[in-house]
Symmetry: C2
Subunit: 477 residues, 2 copies
């Protein structure tokens, strides 16, 4: 029991210190470890296995929409990075520079890609000549580097893993359509795979991507009431095409600039899973991204037949990701560890259960214990995993609804932001000055102008001038 206690006591409660709770979970659930490379982490097997499940399922969804994967170099020559003015301004301050190759200094320094728009432009310039070459709908899975000053595991690190889609189209309409299509793929993936509900919307000019004409985003609410930008999709119009001179011959034989998009999701999603679903016993994983979905824990495993029965149950559950914990730790220790790692269902099976042809299923998300007959094992486990997946999304949605407020006066607006964690919906005039003032007064930022939502008033909540858009505001990671 002391082992058991040690494991659990080591987590700070989230009510006491959410940031420390988060750090405790990533370490105790063995998702990451720190390294000698400042600002970079090791993603350990339990963390990487979640990323593999995210990759596989997201990649399948991409391919259903016609995406093809490619791989471009990790280095960007300085002259290439500088071709698009807004883009270089946005990224140059936070890139890592390679200045020496082998024993010699480089003639032109290379940055380690923070994102690959410029490389894709350089590539598309060679590939795209005629309307017949369009569209190209490419994606790559890779790591990128941004020289952040303050870092946190998964949420902000100097190197992170992601996918970056980069597409090029004949028309502005087609580019806009693809931008929104991928945002919808992201939103659907978050809700149906990660059980994280998201607000879809457009970023204000202040918050949009460097070089984009429009950035769309999905925003999720964490358990502490802070927002997490969980995926973005950008429409570049023909801005990059003009900077890189990417022209094609149209059907009626005219030279036209192409239209481009890009869209990305990162290992940050693992941070979102932790902060949306986790609790004071550790990680809680939605079944669809749980590397182990069912943990079979034999009780009194030294008694004859128990381990054999546990192995038999595993065999019968071969449609799921199942582990038998037959280590020499106590059952209590194993329960705690299974909870810490967020395994959706644990099965307890001991001599008396075997005698009665029964076993106990325990839900990680609610702690509910369910006694079932072994005859109905497969169907009950399948049903329970579906129920957990569905109810985790519902609970996260209910939490978000309960922490989303409307404000029509500035007093009310500031009061909510300072005292109630969550999203605040309020009208905005469209001026960056109001965004700046709000940030100064509350540290909150505009998260997005949502696709859905009614007008709350006809005046900007900040300056009182005529309102142009409804905005979700929040403090963000």
């Amino acid at each position: 029991m002391s082992d058991n206690k040690k494991l659990v006591e080591a987590i700070t409660s989230m009510e006491e210190d959410f940031a420390q709770w988060y750090t405790d979970v990533v370490i105790k659930a063995e998702l990451i470890d720190y390294t000698s490379v400042k600002g970079c982490m090791v993603i350990k097997p339990a963390g990487y296995a979640i990323w593999e499940l995210i990759q596989r399922q997201l990649d399948d969804r991409f391919k259903e929409t016609g995406v093809e994967n490619v791989y471009l170099p990790m280095f960007i020559p300085e002259s290439l990075l500088q071709k698009e003015k807004d883009h270089v301004e946005g990224f140059a301050p936070e890139v890592a520079w390679v200045t020496q190759g082998g024993l010699e200094p480089l003639q032109e320094k290379l940055c380690v890609r923070p994102t690959s728009e410029t490389l894709f432009c350089d590539f598309y310039k060679n590939e795209v000549h005629s309307y017949r070459d369009l569209p190209k709908v490419y994606n790559q899975w890779c790591s990128v580097v941004r020289w952040e000053k303050t870092t946190r595991p998964f949420l902000r690190s100097r190197e992170f893993l992601w996918q970056e889609g980069h597409t090029i189209h004949a028309t502005a309409e087609e580019a806009e359509e693809r931008t929104l299509q991928m945002l919808n793929v992201y939103a659907d993936f978050c809700e149906n795979v990660l059980a994280i509900p998201v607000i879809k919307g457009r970023k204000t000019d202040k918050e949009k991507f460097a070089g984009a004409i429009a950035t769309y985003t999905i925003e999720a609410l964490m358990h502490d009431g802070k927002a997490l930008q969980s995926g973005t999709s950008h429409n570049f119009g023909d801005g990059f095409a003009k900077a890189f001179d990417i022209q094609y011959t149209s059907k009626d034989n005219k030279l036209e600039y192409a239209h481009q998009t890009s869209w990305g999701m990162t290992t940050r999603l693992i941070g979102a899973i932790i902060m949306v679903h986790g609790d004071n016993s550790g990680l809680v994983l939605p079944p669809r991204v749980a590397p182990i979905q069912v943990n079979i824990i034999p009780i009194a495993q030294n008694k004859p037949g128990v381990l054999e029965k546990a192995a038999e149950l595993k065999e019968r559950l071969s449609n799921f990701r199942v582990k038998v914990d037959d280590s020499d730790k106590s059952p209590g220790w194993k329960f705690s560890e299974s909870e810490m790692r967020g395994i959706p269902v644990r099965i307890e099976i001991g001599p008396r259960d075997i005698e009665n042809n029964k076993c106990i299923l325990v839900r990680r998300d609610t702690s509910e214990k369910i006694e079932i007959s072994l005859d109905e094992l497969e169907s009950k486990v399948a049903e329970l995993l579906d129920t957990i997946q569905k109810e985790m999304l519902e609970r996260a949605r209910a939490h978000r609804e309960a922490h989303t407020y409307d404000a029509t006066t500035y007093e009310e607006f500031v009061d909510i932001l300072n005292n109630k964690p969550g999203f605040v919906r309020a009208m905005w005039c469209g001026d960056v000055e109001c965004e700046n003032k709000i940030k100064e007064d509350t540290t909150a930022t505009s998260r997005c102008m949502p696709f859905e939502g009614k007008n709350l008033s006809d005046k900007c909540v900040c300056c009182g001038k005529p309102a142009k858009a409804l905005v979700y505001w929040g403090k963000a990671y």
Copy 2:
């Protein structure tokens, strides 16, 4: 027909200029493109899809042996790289150095990983304390950088994709066992998936990995008679553990140094596929790594019912990776393109075939045409893909056997190496001086000391002193 000709004429024949043939194939089959980043390439969709099939199948085989995937940083601080003396000497001359992060110079420069032994050691030092923490059998899929002077697509480039496995064990025996186990996984994968037969053996000290006590290798023979090192597996003994002070408490409570291994395979395998199987019409892909296995080409596709029938066949072949080429190009052009891209089977289906309930299957590897009844489509295609896979391996093996020679005198040895492309088996005394002399006289290197093979004589082929080992010699990529 002119289009058709253009596509085919653009390839240099391999008999005329093998290097140019290779370059023509990688470009014309749209596997890669060159970039503005010197020595780095873009892997295009047709090339990356092959890599995805390699990754998926190799990763499955790894996991069957208990491997877990992780991700470590791409940067190595200079002080970390320098901890193991042989290792730093081997790699320091060819790494890229990051000296600036954001707007400021770094206090300690970081190299972009050329390989990650030092990072894994730094990680394992924190993770391994007791015999209970061992073994750890980790792998990562990532890109690495080596600042090569001369580069060739897939074979040698400044950045390439690979997997690197890094394991740590309690005993020397267990480390040696894992080193050989992974070599066997590699060999089996090459033969059964890539249809490339390999020679398994051990590297001489001159050719082994920087810091290893033993390097094992699989060596394949390309169509031009040159050798390609296709995968390596290293046993480090406790050398790295001593350099990084990785000790664990054994069962009997003593402090012991751990034993480590590493093993890797790279995108170079795509180069091997091209050079083992390709021909003067382009790429020839083994079915198991062919992104498209069957290309259905409708004949007279404007005639009623033809495209519908092609779609129906595709539907019926949904167990395979199938495409219908319904572009507006001529059938002849489509045949050539299908050949260039190496698609294992093409199906020709036109109005007369439909009338007769037949279609034609054409093998990419032999050009054989087979008329079949549409009733037996699924079974015949499955059978044909199996046959192609099997016969491609057999042909590659026969080619290697026909280009493997034995030599017992130095005159004979040099004569073969200078005049007959292929492997030469000959005895060796174990001295590096003989390896150096052979390299100087012939440009050939020792490829490996094979696990299987009889002694050809009791004297070194070079110096005449007592022989210690049989060696495969060859000119290598």
